[in-house]
């Protein structure tokens, strides 16, 4: 079989897969007797039409960028990290602990510490599965799934039994003072009234650039990609597979934990039960859809941000459609861009070679 030309491989095929996913999603909407185009219109309005809607879109996008990068980074090293959900959750513990310890201190001091401390907790939660794969041979896929559940139980215990202040009914930690919280953009920019988007958004943009640089512009990134593409060749090149697996998993956990900085530090100001609420899992779809490239991840995260915020609007305007349609879209995206990503490859290759006879290199 002739290989696809590079532009088709990098742009056309993924795009077709995404279109296919949305097409099937549209058909499902159609099947329940709703108009998918109308739904898209409402979603776009909800996501961009007014200031706080746009702010919410960016807030969700922030979460998804981090989760998507977490999955992408690990995937570049050949590791399928299904655990950003749990890593973000445990990261929240680090964020709240440092926040509470320095409660009342100015955010300018606490924010970086939240990043470090939350990151460290998330890193630990991802490092253990990494260690177990590198040294004990258990697979990160299964272990990270299990660690998501263990995180749920552990955090549930800590929140309801340890962090919950006396006299509070709901399961949550003590709140941070306003000055300690990561400032929301609405305090500077009028446009974002009522929306939770905060400084962490810029951290996400920095993370995108940083990960791009890390993966394609550094020796470390070179090693990560070599490992992911051909572990034997990586070994041949003197790259320690074991060390890389552990380091990459830990870094992936740091990225996932930034979801907690966004949520715990920037929005809730306290640690709430199950605050991650699926954002970690969205990262899987974002990573596959964005093909692990920060540009793709950024765009996919924005798309899912639109879907999540627009989905809220949709729930108001079209009672027949719930936000869960977005989870369905997310599933279809993973299915068509991840599991069946090569489904269209052969037909596409045939189509292209027929229309433009063999110009590619041999």
């Amino acid at each position: 079989m002739t290989p696809l030309p590079r532009w088709a491989d990098v742009v056309l095929l993924p795009l077709l897969n995404v279109v296919l996913a949305f097409l099937v999603g549209g058909l499902i909407v159609l099947a329940v007797g709703q108009n998918p185009l109308q739904a898209v219109g409402i979603m776009l309005y909800g996501a961009f039409g007014y200031g706080s809607g746009f702010g919410y879109t960016l807030y969700y996008t922030t979460d998804f960028i981090f989760a998507g990068l977490a999955v992408s980074l690990a995937y570049h090293a050949g590791l399928f990290n299904i655990g950003p959900e749990g890593q973000a959750y445990v990261g929240g513990l680090g964020v709240i602990l440092i926040g509470l310890a320095l409660n009342g201190t100015h955010w300018a001091i606490v924010f970086p510490l939240m990043i470090i401390c939350g990151g460290a907790f998330g890193a630990l939660w991802a490092f253990v599965p990494g260690y177990l794969q590198a040294k004990r041979g258990s697979h990160v896929v299964i272990t990270t799934i299990l660690f998501n559940f263990i995180a749920t139980s552990m955090m549930g215990f800590l929140i309801s039994r340890v962090l919950k202040p006396a006299g509070v009914n709901s399961d949550e930690s003590a709140p941070l003072e306003a000055i300690t919280r990561v400032p929301q953009l609405r305090t500077f920019i009028e446009l974002f009234k009522n929306s939770p988007v905060n400084l962490t958004f810029f951290l996400a943009i920095i993370a995108l650039v940083f990960i791009y640089w890390l993966i394609w512009r550094t020796k470390f990134g070179y090693a990560v990609r070599a490992l992911g593409q051909n572990p034997v060749a990586a070994n041949y090149a003197g790259i320690s597979n074991q060390k890389m697996i552990m380091i990459v998993m830990a870094m992936s956990g740091v990225l996932a934990a930034m979801v907690a900085v966004n949520n715990v530090g920037g929005v809730q100001g306290r640690l709430i039960l199950n605050f991650v609420n699926g954002a970690g899992f969205v990262g899987i779809a974002v990573a596959f859809m964005g093909r692990g490239h920060p540009v793709g991840v950024g765009l996919s995260a924005l798309l899912f941000g639109i879907l999540y915020q627009g989905g809220q609007e949709l729930a108001f305007q079209m009672p027949g459609i719930t936000r869960e349609m977005i989870v369905t879209i997310q599933a279809l995206v993973i299915l068509f861009t991840g599991a069946m990503g090569d489904m269209l490859r052969a037909p596409l290759a045939r189509l292209l070679t027929r229309s433009e006879p063999a110009t590619g290199a041999k």
Partner: protein, 556 residues
């Protein structure tokens, strides 16, 4: 080239010629660009042992897989007992009485012998009756042919020889009249091989037809009635075993290959750069593969390691390259002991001045999804840029230089490496490893899957390195290559160096004997240099030209 075109007389009934069990007419098979079988004609007489010999990649296994229905031929006809048959899957073949014992056993490791034997040949939906029947039949087969195996033993607990017996039992249980054995002795001890031959003898007595694929001429001479020689996908000749000799067969197998002449002056060895002492290395399953090897390579000389693949060469190379822990022994590069602990020993070996052209470029030497320039720095990425950043401009510049110097085509450093031809891929690896001025270069199978033009270029580059005062260790299964390049030849067998030879004077047959461990002195394991280069072969003639590639992949 003499193909065997069976005459009509042979085919028609009632002639004096023995009836044919199998007849292949004009078989062709392509795998992508590889023409694995070219217009093959072959007639196999019933009740005989028919050998098929040829080098690795000659197309023997493919041909038999077609006969067994695992692959379908692109064109040609198969006749079984004189009747044309369409064999589209293995079940057809079995129904026609053709059974196959694969080189890599098709057994389920955690099943019992009995379960493996009946798998796919069960009589009914419930197992019990079939298992009972099979148990009785296995007893009978064991009695008739000496195929004793405990029917309730679990496969993974059996020795390789016993596992092979299970494969044979599988075929016989299915009523095989013709039995194909693909490299059956490759994995057997000599005792086990002898036992196998006794079994095959009994099977022939009972009127079964046996097709024996091998590259060991001793086996051909010992057991076959007729032998067919294959070379580069084509059938060269079929001979009566009693009327031929190993020498003739070897010649037919290899063909009078144009020995690629390499312009090369005498070596002027300098100081010892690579010093290997009492090295013991295990494989991934902790089985020792290198069993106490010692040798030295000096500056300005090429030491060739000749041997049949799978005798420890791969592990030896990987160990010296820092990719594999040594169990015992030391490796000194330039006088410094090389520590191989951890899984990043390759980086330390490179720092110490070693360059490594691996045996399998696709598996090890290249990341095929990387672009050309990225592979030009694989293993040397640390020398590009001072900080954590990768100096891409410098890397690309390096790649451009290599492309010019080594005439890599197409000259496009952004092209994905997978899209280069085998020869050009090999040049990418060679350029990377040779151009960094290493003290020691270790090279595995430098021209495997490389076209003729590139071979010459690669050989010249290696000589150039030698003349520049590098110490070069060359491992190749191509004896020709070793002979034309090496200044000294060490022969490896079963993880030990069993002899040393001077390429100028060494006799091919003699080397073949050493490589297969059939030399008288093989059990006393002489150290390097203890065996005079002119010691002549003894015992029966045996040539083992080209070994089986253990990866099971076609080198093309």
């Amino acid at each position: 080239m003499t193909s065997l075109h069976p005459t009509n007389a042979q085919r028609s009934e009632g002639t004096a010629a023995a009836p044919l069990a199998i007849e292949l007419v004009g078989i062709n098979k392509h795998f992508g660009p590889v023409h694995a079988n070219r217009d093959i004609h072959l007639a196999i007489k019933r009740g005989t042992v028919h050998g098929i010999v040829g080098e690795n990649g000659a197309g023997k296994s493919t041909l038999m897989s077609i006969l067994y229905g695992f692959y379908t031929a692109d064109s040609g006809e198969i006749r079984v007992n004189g009747t044309p048959a369409t064999i589209t899957d293995s079940r057809h073949a079995l129904a026609l009485g053709i059974g196959m014992v694969h080189q890599h056993f098709m057994l389920v490791d955690n099943f019992s012998v009995l379960e493996n034997v009946v798998l796919g040949a069960e009589d009914s939906a419930f197992l019990a009756p079939t298992l009972n029947k099979a148990r009785t039949q296995l007893k009978a087969l064991a009695r008739d042919y000496g195929l004793e195996v405990d029917p309730d033993a679990i496969i993974e607990n059996l020795s390789v020889g016993q596992q092979q017996r299970v494969e044979i039992l599988k075929a016989l249980y299915r009523g095989a009249e013709t039995l194909i054995l693909d490299e059956p002795t490759g994995v057997l001890t000599p005792d086990e091989a002898d036992h196998l031959f006794r079994i095959l003898g009994k099977l022939r007595e009972e009127g079964k037809t046996i097709i024996l694929i091998t590259h060991k001429l001793r086996e051909i001479m010992a057991i076959t009635d007729e032998v067919s020689v294959m070379r580069q996908g084509a059938m060269v000749k079929t001979l009566t075993t009693s009327e031929t000799s190993p020498g003739e067969l070897a010649e037919l197998m290899v063909g009078r290959r144009v020995l690629l002449r390499v312009e090369k002056g005498p070596a002027s060895p300098g100081k010892v750069l690579l010093d290997v002492q009492d090295l013991v290395v295990t494989d991934d399953f902790k089985v020792p593969r290198v069993k106490g090897v010692s040798f030295q390579v000096r500056a300005g000389e090429i030491v060739g390691i000749a041997g049949v693949a799978g005798n420890g060469q791969s592990e030896l190379l990987e160990s010296i390259a820092g990719m594999r822990d040594q169990l015992l022994g030391t490796i000194r590069l330039n006088g410094e002991v090389l520590s191989l602990e951890g899984d990043d020993g390759a980086a330390r070996a490179r720092t110490a001045g070693l360059a490594h052209v691996p045996e399998d470029r696709l598996r090890m030497g290249l990341v095929t999804t990387f672009s050309e320039w990225e592979n030009s720095i694989l293993g040397y990425q640390h020398s590009y840029g001072d900080g954590p950043g990768l100096d891409i401009a410098k890397a690309r510049q390096t790649a451009e230089e290599y492309i010019k110097k080594f005439d890599i085509r197409p000259p496009n450093i952004d092209l994905k490496t997978a899209n280069f031809s085998g020869g050009n891929q090999q040049k990418i690896v060679l350029a990377r490893e040779m151009e960094r001025n290493p003290d020691v270069l270790i090279v595995g199978q430098p021209t495997r899957g490389v076209d003729i033009g590139a071979i010459e270029f690669i050989h010249n580059q290696i000589i150039k390195m030698r003349d520049a005062g590098k110490a070069i260790l060359l491992v190749s299964v191509e004896l020709d290559e070793i002979r034309s390049l090496a200044d000294r030849i060490l022969v490896i067998f079963d993880g030990k160096i069993v002899g040393e030879a001077d390429p100028a004077t060494a006799d091919e047959t003699e080397l073949g004997l050493l490589m297969t461990g059939s030399h008288a002195s093989s059990d006393k394991t002489p150290g390097p240099g203890t065996l005079p280069a002119h010691e002549t072969p003894v015992q029966q003639t045996l040539v083992k030209m080209s070994p089986q590639d253990l990866s099971g992949k076609d080198p093309n």
